[in-house]
C-alpha cells in the first residue's frame, strides 16, 4: 500500500507546534500506519526529498535558510500547511519587526551581547549560521500554501482534524473556534 508521504519542518518557532503534534497520543499509532514520515525534526534525514504529499510548516520565515528551504518544499510538495501562529501570522517571531529597520541587528545584540553571561559576541560563520532577514514574514508571504492551521500551539484535536481530512483526500474545513489564534 502506498502510504501518504508526510513531512514536518521547523522554521522560526519554538517547536511548541511539534510538541502539540506529539500530543496526538494514540492517533500517532494510527497515523504511523497510514503515513510515511519522510522529513521532520523528529526523524534523521538531512535533505528535503521530492514527491512529498503533505508538509506541515511550523514557524515564521526569519532567516535566509528558511527562504531556501521553503522554496524547495514548494517545488517538492503537493499540499503545504501553515502549522501554528508563527507560520500563519509571524506571531512572536515577528515581534522584532516592531523595532524598525535595524531590528535583526538589535535582536542579535540583545540576545548575544547584552544578555550574554560569558563570551559576548554575535555568532558569525559563513555557510553555517544563516543571516537573519530584515523582516520576519508568515509562510504565505514567501510561497503560497494550501491550508492554514492556526493556534499557539494548535491543540492536538485541531491538528487531528486537519490530518484526518488530508488522509481522506478532503480539504480541511476548520471553522469557528477551531480557527482561534493564540
Amino acid at each position: 500500500m502506498d502510504r501518504l508521504k508526510l513531512a514536518t519542518v521547523w522554521l522560526g518557532g519554538c517547536s511548541g507546534c511539534h510538541m502539540s503534534f506529539l500530543d496526538l497520543d494514540e492517533f500517532l499509532v494510527e497515523l504511523a500506519q497510514r503515513v510515511e514520515v519522510v522529513y521532520s525534526p523528529l526523524v534523521d534525514r538531512k535533505e528535503y526529498p521530492e514527491g512529498v504529499d503533505v508538509c506541515l510548516i511550523e514557524g515564521a520565515v526569519a532567516n535566509t535558510d528558511h527562504v531556501e528551504l521553503l522554496e524547495r518544499i514548494r517545488r517538492c510538495t503537493r499540499v503545504m500547511v501553515s502549522f501554528g501562529d508563527c507560520a500563519v501570522t509571524g506571531n512572536v517571531t515577528a515581534m522584532r519587526n516592531q523595532l524598525g529597520p535595524r531590528n535583526a541587528e538589535l535582536a542579535l545584540k540583545r540576545a548575544y551581547v547584552e544578555c550574554a553571561q560569558e563570551h559576548p559576541g554575535i555568532p558569525h560563520a559563513e555557510g553555517i549560521v544563516p543571516p537573519l532577514l530584515s523582516r520576519v514574514m508568515p509562510v504565505h508571504e514567501v510561497v503560497p500554501v494550501e491550508h492554514y492551521l492556526p493556534g499557539c500551539p494548535p491543540p492536538a484535536d485541531r491538528i487531528r482534524a486537519v490530518l484526518t481530512a488530508l488522509l481522506e483526500g478532503r480539504a480541511p474545513a476548520l471553522e469557528g473556534a477551531q480557527l482561534k489564534f493564540g
Binding site: 519587526n97 523595532l99 489564534f181 493564540g182
Partner: protein, 238 residues
C-alpha cells in the same frame, strides 16, 4: 412613537421610528456582528463590521448609525458583506501588533472572536508592525497601543458615562491614537477618576488592569451594564 415596517433578510420587522437598523435587528433576534458599538453610549460607525446592504443604495451602510425607514429592505449576511467583513478584520489585524498568544485578553477578546467567526484563517495583507507605545504610568491600568483598534469605546464611556472626559482621539490615519488629557502620560492625568470604565469597555487587550498576565484579562462588562441599566431603565439590577 410611530412604528415603521421594514424587512431584514427578507423577514418583516417593525421598529419605532428613529431606531437604528441595529436596534431593529436585535429586537427581531437577528445578530449583526459589531465591534465599536457599546450599549449605553452613542454609536459612531467606526469599525465597519456591521455594514449592511440596503436595496436602492450602492453604498454599504453601517447598521449602528443607519435609521430604519418605512419599506426599507435590508440584508445583513450576504456573500458581499461577508467578503468585506473578513477584509475589515484582516486589515485590523495587519494594522497594529495583535499577537494573540502573548495578549492579556487571549480567549476573552471581541476582535479575536469576530475573526474566527468570520472564518479568518490567515491575513492576506502584509503586517505593518508599527512601533507603538505602552503607557504603564497609571497606578491601576495600562494602555497598550499595539492592541488598540481605535473603536473609541473608551473615549465614549469616559465622556458620556463617567463624565470625566479624560480619553480623547488625536492624529489622523496611521498616526491616530487614543490619548489621555492633552496627550500626557495617563499617570499624570488630573481628570482621570480611576473609575476603570474604559478598561471595562475595551473590546481587546489594549486597556487592562495592571498585573494581569497572558489570557487573564476579564473586562467586567457587567459593571458597565449595571450602570447603563440603572441610567436608562431606572432599575438597579445587580
Amino acid at each position: 412613537m410611530a412604528a415603521v415596517t421594514l424587512t431584514i433578510n427578507g423577514k418583516p420587522v417593525s421598529a419605532p421610528a428613529g431606531a437604528t437598523v441595529l436596534e431593529a435587528a436585535q429586537d427581531a433576534g437577528i445578530r449583526i456582528p459589531t465591534l465599536c458599538h457599546l450599549e449605553g453610549v452613542y454609536d459612531v460607525g467606526a469599525c465597519r463590521l456591521c455594514l449592511l446592504e440596503v436595496a436602492g443604495s450602492n453604498k454599504l451602510l453601517p447598521a449602528c448609525t443607519t435609521k430604519v425607514a418605512e419599506g426599507m429592505e435590508v440584508w445583513t449576511d450576504t456573500e458581499r458583506l461577508r467578503k468585506y467583513r473578513r477584509m475589515t478584520l484582516e486589515l485590523l489585524f495587519a494594522e497594529r501588533n495583535h499577537v494573540c498568544s502573548v495578549c492579556v485578553s487571549n480567549g476573552n477578546c471581541e476582535l479575536q472572536t469576530l475573526a474566527y467567526e468570520a472564518g479568518m484563517d490567515h491575513v492576506r495583507y502584509p503586517y505593518q508592525h508599527p512601533q507603538l507605545e505602552i503607557d504603564q504610568t497609571h497606578p491601576l491600568f495600562g494602555m497598550d497601543h499595539n492592541r488598540c483598534i481605535l473603536c473609541t469605546r473608551c473615549v465614549r464611556v469616559c465622556w458620556h458615562i463617567e463624565g470625566a472626559g479624560t480619553k480623547n482621539v488625536a492624529g489622523r490615519g496611521a498616526e491616530c491614537r487614543i490619548i489621555t488629557d492633552l496627550n500626557q502620560p495617563w499617570g499624570e492625568s488630573e481628570t482621570c477618576t480611576n473609575c476603570g470604565k474604559c478598561v471595562m469597555a475595551c473590546p481587546t487587550g489594549a486597556l487592562y488592569y495592571k498585573g494581569v498576565s497572558n489570557g487573564e484579562m476579564r473586562h467586567d462588562r457587567h459593571k458597565l451594564e449595571f450602570i447603563v441599566t440603572a441610567r436608562e431603565e431606572k432599575q438597579w439590577i445587580a
